[in-house]
C-alpha cells in the first residue's frame, strides 16, 4: 500500500509496509495517482495511463518516470507486500500511571477525570499504596530495565508527599532491582512554587504543564472551584517551571486541549509560543457525542486547515516544537513497537488511589476493565491478553490504513468510549491523526 500526499510545494509517497518515503515530481505523482494506493504496479506503463498522461508529457518521459518507479518497487521501497510481523510476547509491565490524587484544585469542563475524582470518591493515594505499585511494576517487568512512572490525577501536586516518598523509594531500589525509573508528572500548575519546582526539576525526567492557550480560551474551560478563570493564577508557576526546565535542559511540554470552542487552535498554540514556552502539544478533546465541547465531524475541515496553517508557520520559525509534528524517520521505534502503540493493558497500566489497577488512565474506574490490584490479588490475564492481541494487523480499519505503522492503532479508550469496542478506532481521531502525520512528514522532509 502506498500513500501520496503534498505539502509546502512538494509531493511525496510513503510506502506503508517498508516505511520508505520518496519525493516525486508532477509526473511521478500523476503516475502513482493513476495506479492507486493498492497497485499493482506492472513492469511497463499500462496503455490507458500512457494515453491519459500523453496529453501533458511526451510518451518517452512517461516511460522513463514509470521505469524509475518500477525500480523502487523492485528494491522493496514501493508497493511492498504486507508482511506478517509477529507481535512480541506481551505480559510484562513497563510503565505505570499512578493516580496519586483523585481530587483537583481546578474544575475543567472537559476533564475525563470528571473534574478530578473519576466518578468515585475524592481521595489521595497513601504512600503505602504507591509503594506497593512500585513493587508490582518491578516484579511484573521481567527483564526490562527502563521503567516509567507517571504521576497523574486529578492534580498530583495535591499528593506531593506521596510523590516524593515514591520517588525516593524507587530510586533507593534501582541498583538492587537492576532497574532505571523515569518519572513524569502532569500538573495544572496551580500549586507550583519555587520549592516544588526545584524538586520536580531534580527528580522528574519530564514535566507536563497544562494550559490551553489564550486567556479567554483557557478560562472558558479551565476554571477554579468558584467558577473563575485559572489563567492568571497558573501562569506564573508554569512559566517558572518551564524556565527551570530550559535551564537544566530537561524535558517538558506545555499541553493544551482544543475543543469545539477553538477547532482553529493555532492562535492558542502561538500564544503559548509567545509566552516563551518551547515544547508544545495541543490535543483534540475526546468527549462523548452530545457534549457541548466535543469535536464533531463538522469541525474536521477547520482542524485540518489548522494543522496546515501550523505547518506553514513552523516551516518559517524554529522557536518551538509541536509534539505531533515531531517524527523520527531514522532512529524511531522498531516495527514491533509500531504494531500496537501505547501498550495499555499489557505493558502500561494505571493505578487508582485505592490501589486498583486498570489498563490505562482513561479506563480507571470503568466497569469490566479492572486488571487487578497492587496488593497481590488476582490478575485478569484474559483482559490483558485482549489488549495485547490488538495490533494494527488485527484491527480491520488499521490493517488497510497507510498510517498504521506511525499511528500504531490509536487509543483503545477512545475506541471503547466512542464506538463501544476496542477493535474499532475512533474515526474522527483517525482523520486528525493522518493529517498530523502528513504534516510531520512534510515538515521533516522539507527541512
Amino acid at each position: 500500500m502506498i500513500h501520496t500526499f503534498s505539502g509546502l510545494g512538494g509531493h511525496f509517497v510513503l510506502d506503508a509496509e517498508s516505511g520508505a518515503v520518496h519525493q516525486l515530481d508532477e509526473l511521478g505523482l500523476a503516475l502513482l495517482t493513476r495506479v492507486g494506493p493498492e497497485g499493482p504496479m506492472t513492469d511497463v506503463c499500462p496503455p490507458a495511463i500512457l494515453a491519459a498522461l500523453s496529453r501533458v508529457w511526451p510518451p518517452e518521459e512517461i516511460a522513463e518516470g514509470w521505469d524509475e518507479l518500477r525500480q523502487l518497487r523492485d528494491r522493496g521501497e514501493l508497493f511492498t507486500p504486507a508482511e506478517a510481523y509477529r507481535a512480541p510476547e506481551a505480559g510484562r509491565l513497563k510503565a505505570l500511571c499512578l493516580h496519586v490524587a483523585h481530587d483537583c484544585d481546578l474544575r475543567c469542563g472537559y476533564c475525563f477525570a470528571g473534574t478530578g475524582h473519576y466518578g468515585g470518591a475524592r481521595g489521595l493515594m497513601p504512600f503505602e499504596t504507591a509503594r506497593a505499585a512500585i513493587d508490582l511494576l518491578a516484579a511484573r517487568s521481567g527483564g526490562r530495565r527502563n521503567l516509567e512512572v507517571d504521576f497523574f490525577g486529578g492534580e498530583p501536586l495535591l499528593a506531593l508527599d506521596t510523590v516524593k516518598q515514591t520517588v525516593a523509594y524507587a530510586r533507593a531500589h534501582e541498583t538492587e532491582w537492576g532497574k532505571r525509573f523515569r518519572f513524569t508528572l502532569t500538573t495544572n500548575g496551580l500549586a507550583l512554587d519555587a520549592d516544588n519546582i526545584a524538586w520536580l526539576d531534580a527528580e522528574m525526567d519530564n514535566l507536563v504543564l497544562s494550559l490551553d492557550g489564550r486567556p479567554n480560551v483557557n478560562d472558558a474551560v479551565r476554571k477554579t472551584p468558584t467558577g473563575a478563570g485559572s489563567y492568571e493564577k497558573i501562569l506564573p508557576g508554569l512559566l517558572a517551571a518551564a524556565r527551570a526546565r530550559e535551564a537544566s535542559g530537561k524535558d517538558y511540554y506545555v499541553r493544551g486541549t482544543f475543543t469545539a470552542r477553538n477547532p482553529d487552535f493555532v492562535d492558542d498554540l502561538l500564544h503559548l509560543a509567545e509566552l516563551g514556552f518551547r515544547h508544545l502539544s495541543m490535543e483534540p478533546v475526546v468527549l462523548p457525542e452530545g457534549h457541548p465541547l466535543a469535536l464533531r465531524e463538522e469541525h474536521v475541515p477547520t482542524v485540518l486547515a489548522a494543522y496546515d496553517r501550523l505547518l506553514a508557520i513552523m516551516r518559517e520559525r524554529g522557536d518551538f516544537s509541536f509534539f505531533h509534528f515531531n517524527i523520527d524517520l531514522d532512529g524511531g521505534p522498531c516495527v514491533y513497537k509500531r504494531l500496537r502503540g501505547c501498550g495499555a493493558g499489557f505493558e502500561y497500566a494505571a493505578v487508582s488511589p485505592e490501589g486498583e489497577v486498570y489498563p490505562c488512565h482513561q479506563f480507571v474506574g470503568k466497569a469490566g476493565f479492572r486488571l487487578g490490584d497492587v496488593w497481590g490479588g488476582s490478575w485478569d490475564d484474559a483482559l490483558s491478553g485482549r489488549f495485547a492481541a490488538l495490533t494494527v494487523e488485527t484491527k480491520p480499519d488499521c490493517a488497510v490504513c497507510w498510517a498504521k505503522y506511525f499511528c500504531s492503532g490509536g487509543c483503545a479508550a477512545a475506541a471503547v468510549n466512542l464506538n463501544g469496542r476496542m477493535d474499532k478506532p475512533y474515526g474522527l481521531g483517525c482523520a486528525l491523526q493522518r493529517k498530523r502525520l502528513e504534516c510531520a512528514l512534510v515538515l521533516k522532509l522539507r527541512d
Partner: protein, 62 residues
Amino acid sequence: MKHVKTLVPATLKRSAQNGGCGECQTSCQSACKTSCTVANQKCENTRIRKQPSENQQFSIGN
C-alpha cells in the same frame, strides 16, 4: 533518477531484524495522554540496532 528522489529508505524492514527489545518509552507517558502517537519516539537501542551483532543480548518481548 529524474522523477523520484528517495528521502527515507525501507527502515521498517531493517528494524524488524533487530528490534523488539521492549525498552522504548510507552507513548502515552510523553505529552499527550489522549491521542497516542508512536512514530515520534526514540529507539532506546538505536546504537545497538545499527550494529546487529551486538543485539543478541536482547530477546523479543523482554
